[in-house]
Amino acid sequence: MSMGAQDQAIRTGRITRMFIYVVLIFFALFYLLPFFIMMINSVKPLEEITGGNMMALPTEYTFAPWASAWGSAQIGVEATGLKPYFMNSILMVVPAVAISTILGALNGYILTKWQFRGSNILFGLMLFSCFIPFQIVLIPMARVLGSIGLAGTTSGLILVHVVYGIGFSTLYFRNYYAAFPTELVRAAMMDGAGFFRIFWRIMLPVSGPIAVVCIIWQFTNIWNDFLFGASFADLDSMPMTVALNNLVNSSTGVKAYNVDFAGAILAALPTLLVYIVAGRYFVRGLMAGSVKG
C-alpha cells in the first residue's frame, strides 16, 4: 500500500503540506472528541459534570459509574445494570455471525463455481435484498415470530439476523470467489473431487481475507442493530443497544450522565475491540474488493 517516495506523481510545496497537516489533524481531533468526552466523563463524579466543564479532566477519578452501568443501574424492572443485556447480545451475535458467514461462503461458492441457469438473477435478487429498508418486513416478521413461538426470544433475533445477513455475506464471498481461477476447480473435478471436497480443500483455505471482512461486517451490524432488537425482543432477550437506549432515556430520578457515558462505552467496546484487533484486515479486504471493481 505504501509507495516509493520518489515515485508519486503529485508533489506538494512546503506551505501546502503544512496546510494539509493542519486539516488532517483538525479532523483527527473532530473524530476523537466525542470518545474522549465519553471517557473522561465516565470516570467523574456526577457533580463535576453537572456543575462543571465537560471538557475538563476529572479532578477526582471514580470507577463507580462503570460499576453502576455494568451491575446496578436501573434498566428493566430490576436494577441489574447492563450486564444481562450484554450477555444477551453475545448469545445473539455469535451464532448469528457464524451461521450467516458459513451460508454466505457456500452460496458464494455455488454462485461462482457451480453456476446454473438463472443463478445470476438469483444473485441479483440477493443483492437487492441487502438494501431493503427493514421497515418493510417489520410487520410480517412480528407475525411470523409470534406464530412460531420465537417472539421475544434470543433464538428469534438470531433467526432474523441470519436471514437478513445472508445477502451481504453471499455478496462478499461471491465477489471474492469470482476472481478465483475456475480452472483449478475444474481440474479438481476431473480428478474426481466432489462438491464438498473442492469447497473444503480448495476454496476454504484461500478464504481467510474475505472471511475476516464478512465476520467483522456481520458482527458490527448485528451487535449495533437497534430496530430488530427494539421490535422483537422482550426484557429477557433485549440486546445491548436497546438496553443502553432505555438507560439513557429513562426519565426517572436524577440524570446520571456519568453512568450513561460508561454505559455507552460498554455498548461500543466489543465492536471497537474487533475494529482495533482486525480493522486493518477489514479495510484491506474492502480495498481489494473496490479497487478491482
Binding site: 506523481a9 472528541l33 470518545f35 462543571g52 466543564n53 444473485f123 429498508p133 462438491f195 479495510v283
Partner: protein
C-alpha cells in the same frame, strides 16, 4: 458448468449435479419468504384497513391518501430530504478531501486512518448518545464555552425546532465520513501513477491533475458512496431515537420513525405499511439501476 457433462450419468454424478442447488435452497427459500414474501405481505396490508392487528379487508388506496394528507408524513419527507442531501454531500466532500490529503505521502497515515475510521464501528445508538450530551446546551459545548469565558456563545440547535434536524446531520457525518474516506482512498490507490506522471510532463498542475484526471477516474467510488449513504439515510432510525427521539415536537421525524410509531404505537398498521412501501420504493429507485449495472458489468 455442471450441466455440460454429457457422459452417461450414474447416481453419483446426478447427486453431484443436484448438490449445489440443494445446498443453496435453504438460503433461497429464506430469501423468497423473508424478503420477497414479506414485501408482498406488507404491500397487501397497505391496501387494507389494518389497525392494531392485520386485517384483510381491502380499501384501495385509502391508506396512501391518508398518508399523504398527514402533516407528520410531510414533515418526515421534508426532513428526510434535508437530512439525506446534507448527509450525502458533506460525507462525500469530507471523505474526498481527507482521502486526497491522506494520499500525499503523509507521515503518520497509519495512525490517522484508524482514527478517521473508528466511528463507523460504533452503533448509532452510541453515536447518538455521545452527541446528545455534547450538543446539549445545559452541559455540553455551550456550557463549556461559557466556562471558558465566552459568555455569549450559543449553540442550542438540538432544542430548537428549526435546527434540530441539522444536529442529526452532524452526528451522522461524524459516524460515516471516515468510511467514505476509506472508499475514496481505495480508489485513489488504484489509479495508475504513470498516467499522472505523463500528464505532468505535459505541464498539468496538481489542481488540474485532480480536476481533469483523478476525480473523473473516481467515478465508481462516488457512485458506491452515494448508493451506500443514500440507503443509510432512508433507513435511519436508531440515530433519531438516540439523539432527539424525534423531537422537539416532531421536528426530527423521519419516514423510519413515522412508520414505527404509526404501526406499533398508534395502531394504524395500514398507514404504517403504506409508509414502509413508499420507503421501499425510494430505495428501489436508487438500488435497482445500481444492482442491474453491477450484474451486467460482471457478465
Amino acid at each position: 458448468m455442471a450441466g455440460s457433462t454429457r457422459a452417461p450419468q450414474d447416481m453419483r454424478t446426478i447427486l453431484q449435479n443436484w448438490l449445489p442447488k440443494l445446498v443453496l435452497s435453504p438460503s433461497l427459500a429464506a430469501m423468497m419468504v423473508f424478503v420477497y414474501g414479506f414485501i408482498v405481505y406488507t404491500v397487501y396490508l397497505s391496501f387494507t384497513n389494518s389497525r392494531m392487528l392485520p386485517s384483510y379487508d381491502l380499501v384501495g388506496f385509502d391508506n396512501y391518501a391518508r398518508l399523504f394528507g398527514l402533516s407528520a408524513w410531510t414533515t418526515a419527507l421534508i426532513n428526510l430530504a434535508i437530512f439525506a442531501t446534507l448527509y450525502i454531500v458533506i460525507c462525500i466532500a469530507i471523505g474526498l478531501l481527507l482521502a486526497i490529503f491522506l494520499d500525499q505521502k503523509i507521515r503518520g497515515e497509519g495512525m490517522l486512518r484508524p482514527i478517521y475510521l473508528y466511528p463507523m464501528a460504533l452503533s448509532f445508538i452510541v453515536t447518538g448518545t455521545a452527541w446528545k450530551w455534547l450538543l446539549d446546551p445545559g452541559i455540553g459545548l455551550e456550557n463549556t464555552m461559557h466556562m471558558w469565558g465566552w459568555e455569549s456563545f450559543e449553540f442550542g440547535w438540538i432544542k430548537d425546532r428549526d435546527y434540530a434536524i441539522y444536529t442529526l446531520v452532524i452526528a451522522a457525518v461524524w459516524q460515516s465520513s471516515g468510511f467514505v474516506m476509506a472508499m475514496f482512498l481505495a480508489g485513489l490507490r488504484g489509479i495508475d501513477n504513470e498516467m499522472l506522471k505523463a500528464a505532468q510532463i505535459d505541464g498539468a498542475s496538481n489542481w488540474n491533475l485532480y480536476r481533469r484526471i483523478v476525480i473523473p477516474l473516481l467515478r465508481p467510488a462516488f457512485l458506491s458512496a452515494f448508493v451506500i449513504l443514500a440507503h443509510l439515510a432512508i433507513k435511519s432510525y436508531d440515530l433519531v431515537i438516540a439523539l432527539t427521539g424525534g423531537g422537539p415536537g416532531r421536528a426530527t421525524e423521519l419516514p423510519a420513525t413515522f412508520m414505527y410509531s404509526y404501526t406499533f404505537t398508534r395502531n394504524q398498521m395500514g398507514v404504517g405499511a403504506a409508509s414502509a412501501v413508499i420507503m421501499l420504493m425510494g430505495i428501489a429507485a436508487i438500488m435497482v439501476p445500481y444492482v442491474y449495472a453491477e450484474l451486467k458489468e460482471q457478465k
